[in-house]
Amino acid sequence: MNRIKSLFQQKNKEVLNIYFTAGHPTKDSIQDIVLQLDSSGADIIELGMPYSDPLADGPTIQDSSQKALANGVTLNYIFEQVSLIREHSQIPIIMMGYYNQMLQFGEKKFLKAAQEAGVDGLIIPDMPMYTYEENYKDLFEKHNITISFLVTPETSKERIVQADRLSSAFLYIVSQSSITGTASKATEAQKSYFNMLQELELKSPSLIGFGIKDYESFHHACQYANGAIIGSAFIKTLESSELPIKETVDQFVKQIIIPA
């Protein structure tokens, strides 16, 4: 069974998904970061595929992507690292990136490589739902790779239902209308958006992302979904920490899941 699907069967509260850009801060840090995230208590890993033109991302992820590319990270390198990680860990791993990366690699080849490496799911924010449904759904299923679609405060109910139907891992709830790394504001409007989503009684588990950065914002988000996603805050910590990588990662995760 797919590792993400079995995770949600065992755990449906306070699921912690951590995103980082593969190959940042150093090219060879991917394995160390993932293995430490796993042992410190993260539930899902989201590996960012560094991209030259990440349209939906703020300065932190743009910058980490530039650095990872300058470090020489390629898709093949990421697949290799994932297969090495699989010798030690069964934590669910998602790759997140842009549609052009998959197109240029070749979609079939990409899905095959992902499956062989031990990747469980993909998030491709600029791949339209209809494109997925018409061209790729069967292929994803054949390779046992899940997909998650995004919904935002501007997404219509009709589209939310569609995104829920097509998402095979979880629904990615974008907390606010913004690019990644923008501080989340717990406004009334946000609250009613989260409530509205809960009332729809969607079939997929859901994770809230964008602007989640610490114990408080993580647990706040978890009131409205099965868990949350942290990205930019973790990348900033990796970048600025003076401790060795493993300790940095461990401290970061502990401070998210254990009250101060």
Partner: protein, 397 residues
């Protein structure tokens, strides 16, 4: 064959809207409403009146006698350089600002390369009293200083794009990110026939006034309403799209597009997208773009900020793929030479972008009766600092 956009926003396999969900609401609303607004008689009336009295249209179709003699054909110049603000870009910004008002938007953002689109956007925002923010690569801010000053004088805020190559591609990324962050009050006036559907079609329609006029102007001057050749430079492709729009399905008319070869196609410093590019996605559109094997977008190079873009509009990708259009390439040096030639034999200083199209004249084989229209997309005032560097090379003493 039909070369216009289809119902799903594609030109053959190119086009579409490959955008993150955060943009979906705005793009979808535009898609549903743009034609309805554009075809509304009161919209048309307002658009036509501004085109006439504010922009100064129709732009002349000028028969260029000395150029014709030199290249052995009947060469006409479509004088978009005489428009208010000095280029074709204003045709599109007038249209989009009227649309933005009808969509109830209060804040306008735009990207700009050469600054022509930025100036044209700042101008229409001043005209309509809307707030205007223009993203411009910091490299382009350096090389197009007069246009930066013009935008500021017109009341726009110019925000430098510091990511990536710090040119047009990155300014476009920044504008899109701004729109993601400000989805409700803001309209994004894109400057060329690029971006997600419906932008390429919408911008092409606003620019199509160029070929609409060309038809009756040719009828009056040549006794037939079509030329044998239309020539235009291509950055994203909006001036070209406007110049060919009404002839797309008329295969008597040959289309010659000129791309910027920079220092030469094989030098690694080029913006010749159609030859160096492959199929992929840029700024929400499936098209031809310059990229690595891993799908990373390559930073282009051209002396001309308006052509320094790694992609090309999806309409043009389709025209090139189906061989409906022929592509020529002009290097920096060839463009500079052509700019001096046009200045000296017709008394017209063209924009650097436009000069690329004139550089292709040398590579064409015309019959003496061929009717050729070159779209003179803009004037060269903004490029004087660049031209001055070459004055000695072309001194006539």
């Amino acid at each position: 064959m039909n070369y216009h956009v289809d119902e799903r926003g594609f030109y053959g396999e190119f086009g579409g809207a490959f955008i993150p969900e955060m943009l979906h609401g705005n793009i979808d609303k535009l898609r549903q409403e743009y034609l309805q607004h554009m075809e509304d008689p009161s919209f048309k009336k307002e658009f036509d009146a501004l085109m006439k009295d504010y922009v100064g249209r129709p732009s002349p179709l000028y028969f260029a006698p000395r150029l014709s003699e030199k290249y052995g054909a009947k060469i006409y110049l479509k004088r978009e350089d005489l428009n208010h603000t000095g280029a074709h870009k204003i045709n599109n910004t007038i249209g989009q600002i009227l649309l933005a008002k009808r969509l109830g938007k209060k804040r306008i953002i735009a990207e700009t390369g050469a600054g022509q689109h930025g100036v044209a956007t700042a101008t229409v925002c001043a005209l309509m009293g809307l707030r205007c923010i223009v993203y411009m690569g910091s490299v382009d801010i350096q090389r197009q200083a007069p246009n930066v000053a013009r935008m500021r004088m017109l009341g726009a805020e110019v925000r430098p794009a510091e990511s990536g190559s710090k040119t047009l591609k990155d300014a476009t990324n920044e504008a899109i990110r701004d729109w993601i962050n400000n989805p409700v009050e803001t309209h994004y006036i894109i400057g060329s026939v690029v971006g997600p559907h419906p932008y390429p079609d919408m911008v092409a329609r606003f620019q199509s006034v160029i070929s609409e006029e060309m038809k009756w102007q040719l009828q009056n001057q040549e006794g037939r309403d079509y030329p044998d050749y239309i020539m235009a430079c291509v950055g994203g492709g909006s001036n070209a799209a406007g110049a060919i729009y009404h002839y797309l399905n008329d295969e008597r008319v040959k289309i010659i597009l000129t791309e910027a070869a920079g220092k030469g196609i094989d030098t690694g410093e080029s913006a010749a997208t159609s030859i160096l590019g492959s199929k992929g996605i840029i700024h929400g559109s499936k098209t031809l773009l310059m990229q690595t094997d891993d799908g990373q977008i390559i930073e282009p190079y051209s002396i001309s900020a308006g052509l320094d873009y790694p992609g090309i509009g999806p309409m043009h990708a389709h025209l090139i793929d189906t061989k409906r259009a022929i592509v020529q390439y002009a290097t920096d040096d060839e463009a500079i030479k052509a700019a001096f030639e046009l200045s000296r034999i017709e008394g017209i200083i063209p924009a650097l972008e436009t000069a690329h199209s004139f550089a292709s004249l040398e590579k064409m084989k015309f019959h003496k009766d061929d009717v050729v229209v070159i779209n003179l997309s803009g004037r060269g005032d903004k490029d004087l600092a660049t031209y001055i560097e070459y004055l000695n090379d072309f001194s006539q003493s």
